[in-house]
Symmetry: C2
Amino acid sequence: EILIQNVTKIYPMGESKVYALRDISLSIKQGEFVCLLGPSGSGKSTLLYVIGGLEEANEGRVDIFGERITDYDQNQLSLFRRNYIGFVFQSFNLFTRHTASENVQIPLFFARRDKRTRKEQADGLLELVGLKDRILHKPGELSGGQQQRVSIARALVSDPPLILADEPTGNLDSKTGKEIIELFVNLNKDNGKTIIIATHDKAVAQFAHKIVYLRDGCIQNVEENKI
Amino acid sequence: EILIQNVTKIYPMGESKVYALRDISLSIKQGEFVCLLGPSGSGKSTLLYVIGGLEEANEGRVDIFGERITDYDQNQLSLFRRNYIGFVFQSFNLFTRHTASENVQIPLFFARRDKRTRKEQADGLLELVGLKDRILHKPGELSGGQQQRVSIARALVSDPPLILADEPTGNLDSKTGKEIIELFVNLNKDNGKTIIIATHDKAVAQFAHKIVYLRDGCIQNVEENKI
Ligand SMILES: Nc1ncnc2c1ncn2[C@@H]1O[C@H](COP(=O)(O)OP(=O)(O)OP(=O)(O)O)[C@@H](O)[C@H]1O
Ligand SMILES: Nc1ncnc2c1ncn2[C@@H]1O[C@H](COP(=O)(O)OP(=O)(O)OP(=O)(O)O)[C@@H](O)[C@H]1O
Ligand SMILES: [Mg+2]
Ligand SMILES: [Mg+2]
């Protein structure tokens, strides 16, 4: 399970401070599908970063699958992320000089698969997200929604048990968006992956076991969905 | 008015080609509010780039307010854009080393306003999009939806007669998204601006005079909305 206890995240801004997260506590069971909803600026991305060990909390603790990641140093965090977490970024974060296929292969370098297996695995996933004909395109040669799907494929390719997705359908039309949501739902139902999605898309929320409402860095409400 | 005649845009990809736009013809009246809808990869951004003179068509002509921009060289295009067009980019394109206020002030340098007027105008617009408390933040210190709103403010600050917006609500919750749509609707109704919005958000389409459906680089259908 994932345990977030009394997490506070403060960004210093010159003389003042931004309280991006205020005393957040939340527990997520293994295999749960969780949605983070909330207005722009309410702290969704920051919460995902803290869970993923990409940002350090000022206060509080985060435990993931029994490991206290808030105690880890950069190397331990890096290793943990590589083995356990697939992260879909809100602004994609793709390598601009590499093709879609190369971008998706990157997590597999650490798993030390041979080149042919890496390529097969990466391209198979790109086909799954509808990008079979865009495998050799670099990010600058892709539409916004295509870049978003490369970012999704990259997060999934090493088959991580925890997926953190930051607005994964923001640049997609409703049909393509549904296909992506279906992909996440299947990974959750069939493969038992724990999934936390920050989104503005209410269509995603209907599939969640749990909906967490954020506002101004605080949890306003948690809704349990009977699925 | 805006006249697009038989526009084709081809991207060469090694041995093959991508037909991003195929023989597109479309006329838009001055003061019209137009929505471009279509699946991810269908050509929306490319069409906006060609209209805005940011990409060169391989075939066809584009006339805007009586000027044949497809005949213009880079300098003429640059001047035309500066005077007539506000462009909201799908991936924001903000200067990362400058604050939100400085980013929004940039189009006003060409209008040669003094520093105090520029700052007032820029900050006024940032307040209008809900970013009064984020004026001194750089893009890396802003949420995704906040960066998107800075990009919107920057496109509007020099009061251009033509606004081209590429998925301006993609990173916004529905409440903030509605406020942005309302802003565009008012600029169209009260200030007579011509607005072309590429979007996946059907909530935007309901306000459009005209909805253009794209698929695989072609216009599938044009719907006139009685508003
Ligand atoms: N520089 C390029 N080189 C090759 N192909 C390109 C290039 N830029 C865009 N494309 C391709 O052209 C097609 C249209 O791209 P465009 O960005 O206009 O789509 P879009 O409708 O805006 O999609 P989205 O909704 O995902 O933003 C896409 O299939 C894309 O892969
Ligand atoms: N590096 C930073 N320095 C200062 N303030 C920051 C920084 N990063 C984020 N913030 C602020 O923290 C708050 C939360 O940001 P966050 O990105 O988590 O919001 P969000 O819920 O993901 O928003 P969106 O829906 O727009 O993506 C925002 O008000 C933002 O301005
Ligand atoms: Mg965010
Ligand atoms: Mg686009």
